[in-house]
């Protein structure tokens, strides 16, 4: 099995493929996180941070496919990591052996590759289902000095098997920590800020993916230290490939308004943290207008 990921160490856009895939397994990685393994009808080379639109094939397909970051892939297989939050993820959790899926991917702009971080060590900060793109980056590109942080609610919430010694773990409540593993109390961004390895003058690059409050905290941390910061935004998506404008995020713009809508699925999902107009994010972008369509 050729590992395709190695073929795209830096991001040079690879064509997006529409393919079918067969369900292989749902593997529980933590109380809330399930790893989905599928067998691909066609290879889907991708860069860390890219995602795929996933759906059931045939008559039970959902009206919209769902975006999921790619956790890992070979020519024949692909894995995702997800949490059941609604109709689509419930359908994934209910898949049976051999059931067919559709995959459209890879999509979106990935995290910068190792050659694009100016030789600086990378700090990866993940929460919950924000893990896949960062996990993929560290697995493919990680060098000594690169450091991962993962935050969860408690020990049950941590996908211990996926997180090797390169990952530092924090939890809100220190319960259910397996023997031989460590987890620090507190929010992951605070924990990273206090972490010994991140003190000192060494400039770093931060990659983050997770809930918006976490991303904001990470962006502030990076800004305070003058570090470059890239965040992956999990905005609602309709198409995933720029067709519908259903996934906009407010970004800085030189034009009159000072901001504009960026299309998360094609301009992102990875953005430089200082591009994002955090003050407008998650709020009505314009006074409620009188038009629809």
């Amino acid at each position: 099995m050729l590992r395709l990921e190695a073929a795209v160490p830096e991001f040079s856009p690879v064509p997006t493929v529409s393919t079918t895939a067969a369900f292989l397994a749902n593997v529980r990685e933590s109380a809330g996180l399930i790893r989905l393994d599928v067998s691909l009808a066609r290879p889907v080379p991708f860069a860390a941070g890219q995602f795929a639109m996933v759906n059931l094939a045939g008559e039970h397909s959902l009206v919209f496919s769902r975006p999921f970051s790619i956790l890992s892939a070979t020519e024949e297989r692909m894995s995702f990591l997800y949490r059941v939050v609604g109709r689509g993820t419930a359908a994934l959790a209910g898949l049976r052996a051999g059931q067919e899926l559709t995959i459209l991917g890879p999509l979106g702009r990935p995290f910068p590759g190792p050659g694009a971080v100016g030789g600086k060590p990378v700090v990866l900060i993940a929460g919950g289902v924000g893990l896949p793109p960062l996990h993929n980056w560290l697995t493919r590109h990680g060098r000594p000095g690169d450091l991962g942080f993962f935050g969860g609610r408690d020990g049950q919430d941590i996908p211990w098997q996926l997180l090797d010694e390169r990952w530092q773990i924090s939890v809100d409540e220190r319960t259910d920590i397996p023997a031989g593993r460590e987890a620090w109390p507190g929010r992951v961004a605070d924990f990273a800020a206090r972490h010994a390895a991140l003190q000192g003058a060494q400039p770093r690059v931060v990659f983050s993916c997770g809930p918006i409050p976490m991303l904001k905290a990470v962006a502030e941390l990076a800004a305070a230290r003058g570090w470059a910061c890239h965040v992956s935004l999990e905005e609602h998506m309709g198409c995933g490939y720029g067709a519908c404008k259903g996934c906009v995020v407010p970004v800085v713009d030189d034009g009159g308004a000072g901001w504009r809508n960026a299309t998360c699925c094609v301009e992102g999902p990875v953005f430089s943290a200082d591009e994002i107009r955090w003050d407008r994010y998650g709020k009505p972008a314009v006074p409620l207008p009188t038009i629809e369509g």
Partner: protein
């Protein structure tokens, strides 16, 4: 798996056909707002397809307005059991950039294009059509204009812009006057008591066909909060759920109005498209299904080729 084409179906939907003064390359189109400006996905591949544009008769581009629009707040989409509700709010790059950047690029790439336009005053449709004619009159792949008359509340004069037959006629006539050699379509709202009043007005004012339907007003509730999912409460309902509604409107128009109809609403498969053709539609548009699968329209075009 492959569709067994019914005996009455004899048309090759990827063969050119006449629509008013223009010959269009085929009868399977993508619907406005569901395939952006026709510049996305060109490098996508699927088994048996070199691109999602294979076999398409036209891409109806995202509706553009005289000035750019930022659109509505997020979230803009809600999925229901068998459809989608959108409240994009006509986010678009504006007519200037459409003329300067989008249309020339579509021409360069050879994308068969129908330009969707919206405005708040009937005369603006004339102004825009005239400029299109100046900019793109020599283009081989720009085939026509679809005037989007189906957005509630755009009129300066009140909320019945696209629901008022007289206004519909004015908009169509204004565009027609400046479009000597391109197809002109009027896209109608289904949110009206009698759509044939609109279709009659549009055809009489010179439209070569009407496109029916735009989205149906719909609402989804977030049960946790008890509030509508979309910030503006309602949105435009589309997808498989609206297919029977679109079929009913198309049938009404065909039966009561002399004039051609382009069917749109809920088409996801070749079977769905055939239902519109059975009722007399001259072409069809694929909307929501195109968002799920960029090859949806291309697959339908291929499946409907007889023999």
């Amino acid at each position: 798996m492959a569709l067994q084409l019914p005996a009455w179906w004899k048309i090759d939907p990827t063969a050119p056909f006449e629509l008013g003064p223009r010959r269009l390359p085929g009868r399977i189109w993508t619907a406005s707002g569901c395939f952006a400006y026709g510049l996305t996905g060109h490098d996508f591949a699927a088994p048996g397809f070199a691109s999602p544009y294979e076999g398409l008769g036209a891409v109806v581009t995202k509706t553009v307005t005289p000035a750019p629009r930022a659109g509505n707040p997020m979230p803009r989409l809600a999925e229901t059991a068998c459809g989608a509700i959108n409240s994009i709010g006509l986010e678009n790059v504006g007519f200037d950039r459409f003329c300067d950047e989008v249309l020339p690029e579509l021409e360069r790439r050879g994308v068969p294009t129908v330009a969707s336009l919206a405005a708040t005053r009937p005369a603006e449709f004339g102004t825009m059509a005239a400029r299109l004619h100046r900019v793109a009159g020599g283009f081989a792949h720009w085939h026509g204009v679809e005037v989007n008359l189906s957005c509630p509340n755009v009129a300066e004069g009140g909320h019945d812009f696209g629901r008022d037959p007289a206004t519909v006629a004015e908009c169509v006539a204004a565009a027609r006057a400046e479009l000597p050699d391109r197809a002109l379509l009027a896209k109608l709202t289904p949110n009206i008591t009698d759509i044939t009043e609109l279709s009659g007005a549009a055809i009489n004012a010179g439209a070569d066909a009407v496109s029916a339907i735009n989205t149906v007003l719909g609402l989804e509730v977030d049960l946790t909060t008890g509030q509508p999912v979309l910030p503006r409460r309602f949105g435009g309902y589309s997808g498989p759920a609206v297919l029977p509604i679109a079929l009913a409107k198309v049938d009404e128009i065909v039966q009561k109005t002399g004039g051609k109809v382009v069917g749109v609403g809920g088409i996801a498969t070749a079977t769905d498209a055939l239902k519109f053709f059975a009722l007399g539609a001259v072409a069809v548009q694929v909307g929501t299904a195109q968002m799920r699968d960029p090859f949806a329209a291309a697959r339908i075009a291929r499946e409907l080729r007889p023999g």
